[in-house]
Every structure is written in structure tokens, then in C-alpha cells.
Amino acid sequence: MMEDHWEPKILAFLCNWCSYAGADLAGTSRIQYPPNIRVIRVPCSGRINPLFILKALQSGIDGVLVSGCHPGDCHYLSGNYVGRRKSVTLKRFLEYLGIEEGRIQFSWVSAAEGGKFAQVVSEMVEKIKGLGPNTRFSTTLFS
Amino acid sequence: MKWKLEKKDFQKFLQGLMEDYDLFAPVKLTEGVSEFKKINQPEEVYLNQLFTQKPAKEVFFPQSEVMFHYEKRGGQTQTISLEEIERERILLGAKPCEIKAISIIEKVFMSGESIDVYFLEKRRKTIIMGLACNHPLSTCFCTSTGGSPFLREGSDLFLIDLGESFLMEGITGKGLSFQENKFLKEPSEEDLNTAQLIESKAFQKVDSSVPVEGIEKRLDLMMESTFWNRVHEKCVGCRICTYLCPTCHCFDMVDEGGPQRGQRVRNWDSCLSPLYSLETSGHNPRPTGRERTRQRIMHKFNYYPKIYGQVACVGCGRCILYCPVHFDIRKAILWTSPKRPKKYEERSSS
């Protein structure tokens, strides 16, 4: 891949109830944001298995975004609170190991926050562009 | 035919070999850990009297080996086998026990109606330069299993470390072909005597009292013995003893990649893993540690001897040294024997 043509690939795990709807709102409101993200809809940000994030990074994804409901808004009452603990420990652990700070990011985006979603994505794309391609952990074996 | 190679010439000697061959020898990975690897620079060769963790079998039967690539081209899948190796190889610095083990694996992979071409190719194209074992450890029992720290059999060329130099013995035609090498000199009478002395000293050091003799017959009667109920108890089911065993040769075959292209790979496998014999239906013929430990011991000392007439253990002691819970196969062997001391009765663990 040519360095100057490189565009980051970002995988976003969005919770069904808030962030996915937020992304949808950003779209229907025609708010512009970079097209670098691929979305996987999950029931809840608490559903995120750390294996998902690692597998994405190993498969050559340049950044992973996990986004869910704001505290207090979880459809399942406490999924995002439990997810929050997993997120912080995993993030800190991966950064301890030497994965660049910013490769994985977390956000709260409600169904009404189309603008915030666009902003989160834009900022993330900028950040990942600054970091460059994910070379530390990616393996491209076979497509 | 015997020669002498001064250690000061050793690197140059290796450099010369590397012009014609791919050289495989122990390489230091970290303090106390080494492994047989392809040598890029002669100074990487880490020849000492210590063991590599993984035995020399890896040169012929790598832990993970791509068997073939496949790729869909024009609607049809092509398979490209990777059995062929380009250059002839030299395996340097393997101990007599490991070399004997290679002949044990050979019997399985290179006989019968189907031949394991991946092993065959590497075996055929490899010259073995064995290294005499000057300082056997207290866990060594090669002489109990029909070997010896100075067993020449299996080596093409045999090296004995004399301190400042190596004494080299040409064993086979392949080994003797090195006689023209400019670094090889005539050994002195004293060199030969020193070698003799080291040999007899090493031989005496090895424990030859492990009752391997007749074990096949004894185990015939022990399949349902209560011995198995206890002997496995401390085993946690890791694969160290089988992966580090110079004679263990079980493998698994898996596909890596997708339907368009990828590769079929074989990886070492271990009878101590519950997955090894687990069937898709959920049925497992060896459901607990009892059956799995029995399989490990029986395969080495009963099933293999039944087919090939010798035990599949060379007495290298790796499984004793590296077991995280200190399982000692010598004790398991002893347990099958009438020599078993009474006082072990109530602690029937190995």
C-alpha cells in the first residue's frame, strides 16, 4: 500500500439503541463525516467482547471505535456501566503493551446526537491519520 | 576415519559448509533457552552441552508446517505442494538421543503404503553431524532405552568436544565425503585417548537402571490397572512433555485462509489435550486425564514397540526437566516393574 494514498479503516461497534440511531440521524440529517468507518451494530456496548477489538486490529483495521448509550440511558439498565469497566482495563492494558494510544476509542452517543457522532468520527479519523497504519498488530495472511 | 577440527577454525569451517548447505544448529534465544534454527551467520551457532528445549526433530518435522497452498484460478482450485526443499541441509549439534529419536519417527513417517513426503524430503536431504554428549544430566537415561551418550548410529559425522578442538568421526559415506575439507587435520594419539576417556566417563554417568527392558509385555497386562487412576492425577494436561519429546510425532491439519486462497498447515498436536481425540458428536474416547496419560505411556512403551520392535523413548529426560508439576516418567516405568519399591505404594504418583 502506498503511504500517501493510505486512508485509515475504522471499525465502529455501535449499540443498537443509541449510537447506531445517532449515526443514522447523522446520515438522515446530512451531516458530513469521513467515510472511513465500517459499522457493526451490537445490542449494547456491554456486549463488546475484547476479542472483537483484538481480532479487528489483527485483521488490519487501523482503529476501533466502541460507542454506546450515555450513563443512565442503557436499554438494559447497566450494560454500558459493565462495558465501561471492560473498556478502561482493555484500553490501558493494550497501551501498556505498546499499542498506540488512540487506536481504540470509546464514546457515548445518544440517538439524538447525530452531530456528536459525526464529530467523534471526524476526530477519530484525524487521530488515526496522525498515528499512521496499524502495523504493530496486523497480519495480512490471506484475504 | 577420524579428524581433528581446531575450535579456532570452527567458524570458518561452518562458513564453508554454509556455502553448499543450509545449516541448522542450536541458536540461543535467551538465557537458558535455545532452539534449532537455520543459521545465517556462523557465530549464531550455540554449541554447548545444554539441551535445546525443542528437540532436533523440528528440523525434519517443524512445529508448524505449510503443506500446500491452494488458490482458485479460473474457477478451479490449484494446489501447490511445498514438500520440496531447495538446498541440502546439515543438522549440526544434535545429541545422540535426539538423533536416535529421528529414526524412531522415520519408521512411522517413511514406512507403510503412504509415505509422509514432507518428512521424507527433509530427511533425505539432510546430513547429520551429531555431537557427543560429554556431560549427561542426572535425568538422562538413554542407556536404559538402548542408546548411549556416544551413540554414533544415525549420525553421518560425529563430533566429540575435546575442549580446544573437536574430534570428528566419519560414520557414513556422506560423512566421509568431508575428508577433503581443508580445516580437518590428523588427530594425535592423545586426542583419541582423551575422547576415549570422555566417552567412558559420560557413559558411566547415565542412569541405566530404569527398567525399560520387558516393559511392553508388562504393559500388556496393565491396560485396566488401577495404576492409571492415580498416575495421571497431578498432570494438568499441558503439552510440554509431548512437544519437547524427541519421539512424539502427532500432528493436526488445519486450513488457514478462505475459499479463494489459503494454505493447509500441519501443527504439532498432543495426546494430552482433550481436543486431540474429541469427536464432533461430542463423544471423546479418552475423556479424562487417566486415558490420556495412559495413551502417552502406552504409545511409547507398548503400542509403538508392538509395531516397530523398540520403545519410543530415548531417555533424554526433557519431559522430566520441564514438567511444571514434576511428573517423572522414570517413576512411571518403575511402577510397571516388579522392582517397584514398596514404600511408593501409598503415593502412587509419578
Partner: protein, 314 residues
């Protein structure tokens, strides 16, 4: 003598049939080592020993014997694993009889071996000294120079929540606050850390000994063995090896007692405790939780507080 006391207790437990078996340590064939023993008769209890080489975490065997009443000899770390497992409802606490031994820290056999030339054939200890004998040497070493690094940072050496304690509690202070490996690792740049980690795990032979000796690794099917979904390949690809070690360590978050059994088991001498120790430290900083101390506290990743740290979330 602690050893005598352990034997006495074990005998009594077996004689009165309070337990079906006692799991403890026994001498075996190699110097500087012991082996797990499974004692079922009062006479058998005479084989139990206690010394600086009782390095295994015997809690790992409790899964196998969860249908039995078991007496088990535990150090501080082993007892903490058992508390953690009890919280995860692996067995009922009243199935167990914990014979707690205040731990004098265990001796690293590899460090000792490296301190001498030649093979050690005999070893015994007396007080603070270890006496070693080989074919051509005899030497004495100071015990406290050779502790396992996981033992150096150990705080709760006196086992908690035991049924009986062999001897007086030992003081609750680590020799070093932070594991030297963690400190050295943290001082590197992110790139340097990743390279170090990669280099260490590149030696991995996937024997899974680190997993099998760990009392907390009891999943029916480990993610590395799952074929559907297949998370990683089975070979020796560096990224797969890293994947395995990241997840193995991360699965210990809030569950690791810091016993160091994983690192000791590794035949390739891969450093592993700098991973789990760091996670322990994070869990303590973030959630004020220490594994295996409190019999009531929920494991930190299965609960939450409203005011948990969330600065990292946008």
C-alpha cells in the same frame, strides 16, 4: 516445624474422614523441586513436605476434585485464587479444608541453577541458607537472593480465610512495591514495549502450560481452541502468539492472585507476570479491588459503580 504440623493436620483430617483427600507437596526426584501429592490415607500424610520449593498453585486441582471434600495446603497466593474461584461459584467453600501456610516466599530454581556451574544434584535448606551439591562443587547460597519475582512483590503472604494456619502470620510488606519487570517495561517507549512483548512471546510453543497450571483458566473451551468462531490460527504466526498472550493475560483481569505459576511453567522461559501484575495494579487503581481478599466483593469486571472512571470516553 511447619512440615510436621501439616502432616499432623492431614492425618487427622483423613483419619476422621473430614476430607476425602489432602492435596499437598511432596519430595520427588529433582533437587530444588517438589511435586503435588494426593494423599488418601493417614499414613500417606508422612510424605507431605514444606520448603521453599513448593511453587505450584494447588488450587488448580480443585476443579478436578469438585465432587469431593478436599483438604489442601495453601500459600497466600493459592488461598487468594481459591477465594476468587469461590466467588465464581466453582465450588462451595465448605467442601474445602484449607491448611494455610504463612509463606516465606518461594525460591526460583532457575535463578539458583544459574548461580552455579554444573548440575545441582542435591539441595536442602536450613534457615536462610540453601546448600547445594554437584559432582564437583559444594556451595551455600542465601535464600533471600533467589526469590521468584512474583514472590518479591507479594503482600498477602499469610493465607486468608483458611481453616487452620500453620504458624504465625508473616508481615504484610512486599520486598519491592512494583515488579522489577513491570518497572523496566514501563520505562520503554510504546514501540520498545511492543517489540519486547513480541520478542518474548515469539518463543511460545503453544504448549498452553501457562493456561493449564492457572487455577483461573478453567473455561470448557478456551478461545484458542474454538473452531467456530475461529479466533486465531493454530500455528506459529507472531500475531497469533501475541493474540493468545494478550487475551490469556487480559482474561485474568481482577482474577489473578499473582502467584506466578504461569511464568514458572513456561519451558521457554517467557516472561508473563509483567502482564498480569500490571492488570492487578490497574484494577487496584481503578476499582480499589484486590483479588482474593474479600469473600463478599464481586469480581470487578462483573460489577460497576456509577462513578467509575470514564475520562477516556468521549
Amino acid at each position: 516445624m511447619i512440615q510436621e504440623k501439616i502432616r499432623e493436620i492431614a492425618k487427622d483430617l483423613l483419619r476422621t474422614k473430614k476430607v476425602d483427600l489432602v492435596i499437598g507437596f511432596g519430595e520427588w526426584t529433582l533437587p530444588l523441586r517438589t511435586t503435588p501429592l494426593f494423599i488418601r490415607t493417614p499414613e500417606g500424610a508422612d510424605h507431605l513436605v514444606w520448603n521453599s520449593f513448593c511453587e505450584n498453585n494447588l488450587a488448580v486441582y480443585l476443579h478436578k476434585f469438585n465432587q469431593f471434600k478436599v483438604g489442601v495446603v495453601v500459600k497466600g497466593c493459592d488461598a487468594r485464587s481459591i477465594v476468587a474461584l469461590t466467588l465464581e461459584k466453582r465450588f462451595k467453600r465448605d467442601q474445602l479444608f484449607l491448611i494455610g501456610v504463612p509463606c516465606q516466599r518461594m525460591v526460583d530454581r532457575r535463578k539458583v541453577k544459574r548461580a552455579v556451574q554444573g548440575e545441582i544434584l542435591h539441595a536442602f535448606e536450613e534457615g536462610d541458607q540453601i546448600f547445594l551439591e554437584g559432582e564437583e562443587f559444594k556451595t551455600t547460597l542465601r535464600r533471600d537472593q533467589f526469590f521468584y519475582s512474583s514472590c518479591q512483590t507479594c503482600i498477602h503472604r499469610t493465607p486468608l480465610h483458611t481453616d487452620v494456619l500453620m504458624g504465625d502470620p508473616v508481615e504484610e510488606s512486599p520486598l519491592t512495591e512494583i515488579l522489577p519487570e513491570v518497572k523496566a517495561f514501563e520505562e520503554k517507549s510504546p514501540e520498545g514495549r511492543w517489540d519486547y512483548f513480541k520478542k518474548e512471546v515469539s518463543r511460545c510453543i503453544r504448549c498452553y502450560a501457562c493456561r493449564e497450571v492457572c487455577p483461573m483458566c478453567y473455561c470448557e473451551e478456551c478461545f484458542v481452541d474454538s473452531s467456530n468462531p475461529k479466533w486465531i490460527e493454530r500455528g506459529q504466526l507472531p500475531s497469533d502468539l501475541m493474540f493468545y498472550h494478550i487475551v490469556r493475560a487480559y482474561h485474568q483481569t481482577g482474577r489473578c492472585s499473582g502467584c506466578g505459576a504461569c511464568e514458572r511453567a513456561c519451558p521457554m522461559e517467557i516472561r508473563l507476570t509483567y502482564l498480569t501484575q500490571k492488570l492487578n495494579q490497574e484494577v487496584k487503581d481503578l476499582f480499589n479491588f484486590e483479588t482474593g481478599i474479600d469473600l463478599e466483593a464481586s469480581p470487578p469486571l462483573s460489577t460497576f459503580r456509577m462513578d467509575d472512571h470514564q475520562d477516556f470516553i468521549k
